[in-house]
Symmetry: C2
Subunit: 174 residues, 2 copies
């Protein structure tokens, strides 16, 4: 399954660290790309590229001038559009249906999400109806959608690989 | 199963939003309490208390002067100590064992985690060996440990309840 993430409502400075976490989760949990509406800090792009260079894989980070346009384009390319929101239908109720998809675009918002997102998304889906974190929602969503793929992934071209250990840190330089 | 979260290395200002997400995930995914080492911003405590008042439940947020002391005390009280780290053993390998526990203290670090944590934790566990987010790691860990408990929880004393919907937002005032 091809997965992309569309990040809405990123606020320069204020959301820097949270948006960086969103990027790294997207990469580590099996998405191919994250797209931001508007411009983002150089530092976010550098951080993500640095992780990709060291830990491998073909993940990319991009910007679009219009999230709505991007969403519509992707839908024409066969992507189902899933908006993660605490107001949506519980993930557990639609998971079976979603697992049958070939391409999924996941919309992840910051504080205020415009109404068109709720209206145009194919699915408004909640990972609990409690307020928590778009980072957590994205991770749990991908873990379940892709059946724990993140535990089995290997990243091509990695310069570093971590060897799981009971105590301490083991890093293999390749 | 009783679950608590111990948050290490919170840096005032810089980690404010990330630490707030950690708190809200702990609450929404079934922990009873989060404890920070050192002092944290009033704003974090206010935000968490505000969510608890509006959305219910008995979740609490506390500070301790020594994380190590707190960890040792909790262990004496029968808590297994789990440190979430990208260097640890994959969650999937120890999940069966962990599900048999009665009490779990989860340690979640920020950038630099002191060596005693790796050495004294009963388990150093990874949610992938890739760099991503302690928020994501905590959410996936709790989702799997408590078998999707977050989707079934109800919070006592809630003033607001969200009614899952296919489009838009439905909020019930109680």
């Amino acid at each position: 399954m091809r997965v992309q993430v569309l990040r809405l409502g990123h606020r320069v400075k204020r959301d820097k660290r949270v948006s960086t976490h969103v990027c790294l989760v997207a990469r580590a949990f099996g998405a191919e790309k994250i797209v931001f509406e508007g411009e983002i800090e150089k530092k976010i792009k550098e951080k993500v590229k640095d992780v990709c260079e060291r830990f491998g894989g073909g993940f990319s980070i991009e910007e679009t001038s219009s999230a709505q346009k991007y969403m519509r384009e992707m839908r024409e390319n066969g992507f189902a559009v899933v908006h993660l929101t605490m107001y949506g239908i519980p993930l557990t109720k639609v998971l079976g249906e979603l697992r049958g998809m070939n391409r999924v675009l996941i919309i992840v918002g910051a504080e205020k999400v415009p109404r068109w997102v709720y209206e145009e998304a194919d699915y408004n889906i909640s990972v609990t109806n409690q307020p928590h974190s778009e980072i957590a929602a994205l991770a749990v969503f991908l873990d379940r959608l892709l059946r724990g793929k993140e535990f089995k992934m290997t990243f091509k071209g990695a310069k570093l690989r971590i060897i799981p250990s009971r105590k301490g840190k083991k890093v293999l330089k390749i």
